[in-house]
């Protein structure tokens, strides 16, 4: 295996502030020219003020057939790196080498013109992305079939719904036949079923042995699709390795939340004069705190709290959100023991157990709350999105995944009890069906 993409000491510096290069005018240019002798004296001081390093000394190689996810916060330099790799802009220092044609998709539908028809835009967009007219013609039917808009192919795209528009644009993009494919957050388009189709297509592209580098904010997509991930933070490459580890790093470092949260000073802890939180933890069956759990294993969210005033009935509650912000569920403690019993002062711990084979893969955020419902509903303490954990699917076949290897949609993935019964059809009925 040889390196298909090699990135060596890439840095990129942008000028910001005072002289906005985007709107340089002759007047500024003249003022600049006149101030030049003075400027020269304090150039070092000045130039430090006006520049920002979007990327700093980035080094990595990618081999043929690798599918690598590039992750990091907004402004971490992901898009700049993709722009340098696809030759849209030059690095300030360093060098990139790519063996093979590069198909870069920094935006879906680049160059689409609203007044042109779907057919015309397929050709225009295809040639913009670097494929020849004859190649587009050869793949035309495939592209149209993928986009599912056969009926409207000769309608100007300005009459398209946004869904149709994106489907068409994406169809052209995923039919690029280049050795290297660079994509910036383009998976986040269309409805769920179309997204799945695109993910399937990316699987297919990878299986053809082509090299893909893509930016995504969907950690589930990165852990599922990629064997390897690269994490950028403030222009620096801070992690490069197996996707699930790098995703963990990212979540740990940048969400500022982990699977364990403790408040050492009771006065700062969430809560009121009745009760305050002590800690919230995510634990596995054996009681270990964990950040990442196998999709088949059960886990518990443990809330530890200190009751400061007697006489209240308290109901612990957790709320679970997935990484896309979807609210998966809320759950109260409705156990008999403390349901109608006012709590004496003291330290308590309550654990909500979430069964294995129930959550979908991806990153989860849990909130912990303590409430009273009798005589009226009061929220005493709430810690929103206080702990996070990752549900990983190692694609073993005893999970709800079964033998299907593609992406499984839906916010939860329960392992249900299925029954299938065989009803034999009587012979004459069967004949009737066949003859019809």
């Amino acid at each position: 295996m040889t390196a298909v993409i090699s990135v060596k000491n890439i840095s990129k510096c942008y000028q910001i502030g005072g002289l906005n290069p985007g709107y340089a005018t002759f007047r500024e240019f003249l003022a600049e020219a006149m101030a030049m002798p003075i400027r020269r004296l304090r150039r070092i001081q000045k130039s430090q003020k006006e520049t920002i390093w979007a990327l700093r000394d980035i080094n990595f190689d990618m081999e043929s057939g690798e599918l690598v996810g590039l992750i990091g916060h907004n402004g971490a330099g992901k898009s700049t790196l993709l722009k340098i790799l696809s030759r849209i802009t030059v690095p300030t220092t360093g060098r990139t080498e790519v063996h093979g044609r590069i198909g870069s998709l920094l935006e879906v539908g680049t160059g689409f013109h609203p007044d042109l028809t779907g057919r015309e835009n397929i050709f225009l967009n295809g040639t913009i992305l670097g494929i020849t007219r004859s190649e587009v013609r050869r793949k035309f039917d495939e592209i149209v079939a993928f986009s599912e808009i056969e009926k409207f192919i000769d309608t100007p795209v300005k009459w398209y719904s946004s869904g149709m528009y994106l489907r068409l644009a994406f169809s052209v993009a995923v039919h690029l036949d280049t050795e290297v494919l660079i994509m910036d957050e383009v998976l986040a388009v269309g409805d769920v079923s179309f997204q799945q189709k695109c993910l399937d297509r990316i699987h297919e592209i990878r299986n053809q042995g082509r090299t893909i580098l893509f930016v995504s904010h969907s950690m589930a997509a990165v852990t599922r699709l990629c064997s390897r991930a690269i994490l950028l933070e403030k222009g620096h490459l801070i992690a490069d390795g197996p996707a699930s580890e790098v995703v963990n790093d990212y979540l740990g470092s940048s969400w500022k939340v982990t699977s364990e949260r403790e408040w050492t000073n009771l006065n700062d802890a969430p809560g009121n004069e009745v009760v305050r939180l002590r800690s919230v933890r995510v634990r596995d069956e054996t009681g270990h705190t964990l950040t990442s759990i196998d999709i088949r294993r059960p886990l518990g969210v443990e809330i530890v709290y200190e009751v400061l005033q007697p006489g209240y009935t308290l109901t612990p509650k957790i709320e679970l959100f997935n990484e896309n912000g979807a609210h998966l569920f809320s759950a109260h403690d409705v156990g008999d023991e403390w349901r109608y019993r006012s709590r004496p002062i003291g330290l308590y711990s309550s654990t909500a157990r979430i069964p294995g084979n129930f959550l979908a893969e991806g990153n989860m955020l849990a909130s912990a709350l303590l409430m009273s419902h009798i005589p009226e509903t009061i929220t005493h303490a709430q810690a929103i999105n206080v702990v996070t954990f990752q549900v990983v699917d190692n694609q073993e076949k005893d999970s709800a995944r079964g033998d299907f290897l593609g992406p499984i949609t839906g916010m939860i993935r329960p392992l249900l009890n299925w029954t299938t019964e065989y009803h034999r059809i009587a012979d004459e009925q069967l004949e009737e069906v066949i003859s019809r």
């Binding site: 290069p21 696809s86 360093g94 063996h99 044609r101 007044d115 913009i128 007219r133 050795e179």
Partner: protein, 294 residues
């Protein structure tokens, strides 16, 4: 096997080599990329893009206009009428025997294309900023396509010119052979200035404000409404520095059978070639920063 049939094995090897080399070029992007020559194979690989961008510009230009491409005829004819009445009839500009309508239209044809093309060319990169910041392709294609899209208009005005010349009594002679050369020269000049101004506009937005004004002055500094002969002999060389002088005079001579002003034409050719080289150079210098500047 190879001993028996060495030729066949060589051919086979050659093919493999070709398929590997041909399909996987090495693409390098580095700081301080040297200012190489013009990347002709690189541009050739994107010839379809040039075609589609040109075609898109033509298609979109008259899309919402009720009269469509008729505007390409109405504009020059309207101008011709006004100028013929005021300068030809009322003022009586000397035209050395040529009907003023034809005299003026000979100058108007290259001028309208030139000014239209460099106006479109100068903003071409800005108007395509969504492409420039999102996709890589040889950037020279953008101003070239903008100029190319106006070739249709040039063709239309040119047909009218031939019609006028025929109506007013065109002089059939060898001079007509110079006419296509003048058209090519006009297109080349328009391309030069478009390339240069497109790059300049990315850096200095002032160009957009200055250009209409400069073009107005330029039109009056070109012998379009008046003949070159009204300029005193000792100032003629200043007029020759304007590359359009040679073109306008050349078009007139080829259609009316007057003597060609070879000095003016030579100036135009030299300036066009020099401008081509220097504008591409200037374009390449700013090119790699387009995406950051735009």
């Amino acid at each position: 096997m190879s001993a028996i049939n060495p030729v066949a094995s060589e051919v086979n090897e050659g093919k493999q080599n070709f398929s590997v080399r041909g399909r996987t070029p090495l693409i390098v992007n580095q700081a301080d990329r040297p200012l190489g020559g013009l990347d002709i194979p690189g541009i050739w690989a994107y010839r379809d893009l040039l075609f589609f961008l040109t075609w898109r510009d033509i298609k979109v230009r008259y899309k919402q206009a009720a009269m469509g491409a008729a505007w390409a005829i109405i504009q020059p004819l309207g101008m011709m009428l006004i100028f013929a009445v005021f300068f030809g009839t009322f003022i009586g500009v000397p035209t050395e025997g040529t009907p003023y309508t034809l005299f003026f239209y000979c100058g108007l044809t290259p001028w309208m294309f030139f000014s239209g093309a460099i106006t479109a060319g100068s903003v071409s990169l800005l108007n395509n900023s969504n492409l420039v910041t999102k996709v890589y392709f040889p950037r020279l294609i953008v101003p070239t396509a903008a100029v190319g899209a106006l070739l249709i208009d040039l063709l239309i005005t040119f047909v009218i010119l031939i019609g006028l010349a025929a109506y007013f009594g065109m002089v059939w002679g060898w001079g007509l052979l110079v006419l296509p050369a003048m058209i090519v020269l006009t297109v080349l000049l328009a391309l030069d200035f478009s390339i240069w101004l497109a790059a300049l506009t990315v850096k200095y937005r002032d160009v957009r404000h200055a250009l209409p004004f400069v073009l107005q002055l330029w039109m009056f500094l070109t012998p379009i409404v008046y003949p070159l002969s009204v300029v005193p002999q000792k100032w003629r060389w200043v007029m020759y520095l304007n590359p359009l002088t040679g073109i306008v005079e050349g078009v007139r001579s080829s259609l009316t059978g007057r003597k060609f002003n070879w000095i003016a034409i030579s100036f135009s050719i030299c300036i066009a070639v020099f401008a081509l080289l220097s504008s591409i150079r200037a374009f390449q210098r700013i090119e790699k920063r387009f995406a950051d500047l735009i």
